[in-house]
Amino acid sequence: MNPTVVSFIYLVAGILFILGIKGLTKPKTAVRGNTLSALGMLIAVVVTLLDGDVVNYNFIIAGVLVGSCIGAVMALKIQMTSMPQMVALLNGFGGGASLTIALAEYYSKLGSAPESFSEILTPVVASSSNFGSGPEGTIALVSIGLTVLIGALTLTGSLVAFAKLQELMKKSYGLPGGPIGNGIFLVASAVAVVCLVLNPGNTAAMVAIVGLALLLGLFLVMPIGGADMPVVIALLNSYSGIAAALAGFILGNTVLIVAGSLVGTSGLILTQIMCVAMNRSLTNVLFGKMAAGGEAVDADEIYAGKVTSAQPDEVAMMLEMAKRVVIVPGYGMAMAQAQHAVRELADSMEAKGVEVEYGIHPVAGRMPGHMNVLLAEAEVSYDKLVEMERINPTFEDTDVVIVIGANDVTNPMARESEGSPIYGMPILNVDKARNVVVIKRSLSPGFAGLPNPLFAMDHTVMVYGDGKKAVVEMTTALNQA
């Protein structure tokens, strides 16, 4: 096919991707946007297949068949509570795809590939002119090196993120020396990229980049704990996009560059939003522990004798009298699979004329927007899901707040206690409401490891137990009232 026509159709595909993301700016147009984006993908793939460079279809058919089956099964079987795991895996596969493309391009341009295991490290004679004339050859080599680097670390980093989210890996491991250890790995892989650019036939350098980057991905994510996962997933999302854009530079392919940079910025912006919502810098999330509290806070001192507990039917009485109730969900709601029960409770309240809204903290859950997807699954209308900035001024006019499975994002110490590690983190000001109901298994601290003075306040009652069971009992009691 005429290269001009191919480029033109890639442009059309790029426009469809942009329109697709534009559609995501409103829930009403989002489905159409996704369809447009998929259409762009389809025409980009079809035009590539019709392009004269593709002559051997066996590997393609096999790959597309295997990939489609795995992708479709994952997409249709996955539970909404497990979306963070799915996105983590997809990030990793994106990085892996860019990695293998860059490797294929490298060996293809080199004109020879190792035929046995021992030949992998044997240098071959090659110069940058194999990869393009003059500076273009150098640029292609730099792009290959960087794509391999970022693709490989995205692959292993995402697999670790998946293992942590799936709770296959519960402990946190890190390199001795923490950030310095990681820094040494990063510098070493950068040096390997330089070696490759200076001597393109140095296949050992390529092997070194792959190995170092794979390890770097492991070591970067292994020390990071569960509640910081939203940041890590968003960042790896960004890396997978950057790797795709770099692969576009290797192949001189415009649609890869456009699509990759859109994904790259998307991930970066989400990372930024998550960091702001935790009042922590990216370096602090990646390398730091949460700052040790200035003065040690004694949980017993805060809770002793001041915590009131209540039974679900007592809460139901409270709810019946209320005019306005706000529900604040957290990761605990996802763990307890309580989203449907919560919606049924809200339905019962609304049937009695109570106004119900949901207050969503940006880092509630294990990925950006996690709570919204769960509640949407339970058929909660999206206009009832209110962001932190808009819900906070309304708490003073709220009769009851139900906190289910959230802890640190409601801790008033973030607002009041200057020495506290979470001081300055924006929180949902649920303590301003007239009554607060906290559904929780015990008084155990959240991820920050801090006691929550909210639980000891006079207008707070604790309902201990399984989130789903407690909510169901409240609904039953409310319906009987």
Binding site: L24, G63, G67, M86, G94, A97, Y107, G241, A244, I257
Partner: protein, 93 residues
Amino acid sequence: MEILILLLALFVLSLFLGVELITKVPPTLHTPLMSGTNAVSGITLVGALLAAGSDSSPLLVNGLGFVAVTLATINVVGGYLVTNRMLAMFKRK
């Protein structure tokens, strides 16, 4: 060299466009945004097809191409399907 400048210009302009677009996506749709962009980053399938389908190259290239096609296809098919599944839940009222 001129081509490189053009590609670079395209890259930088796309970054700016990305910032403009993504900042307008409401927090409610951030999870579908992530899975949707995962699907878009499956555009590496285009590069993968070229590698897997090339002829005069060593077999290793085709093999790597096969792995790339498989991974990118998982992203494309899995990403679009799961995004569609989620967005359908947001649509119904």
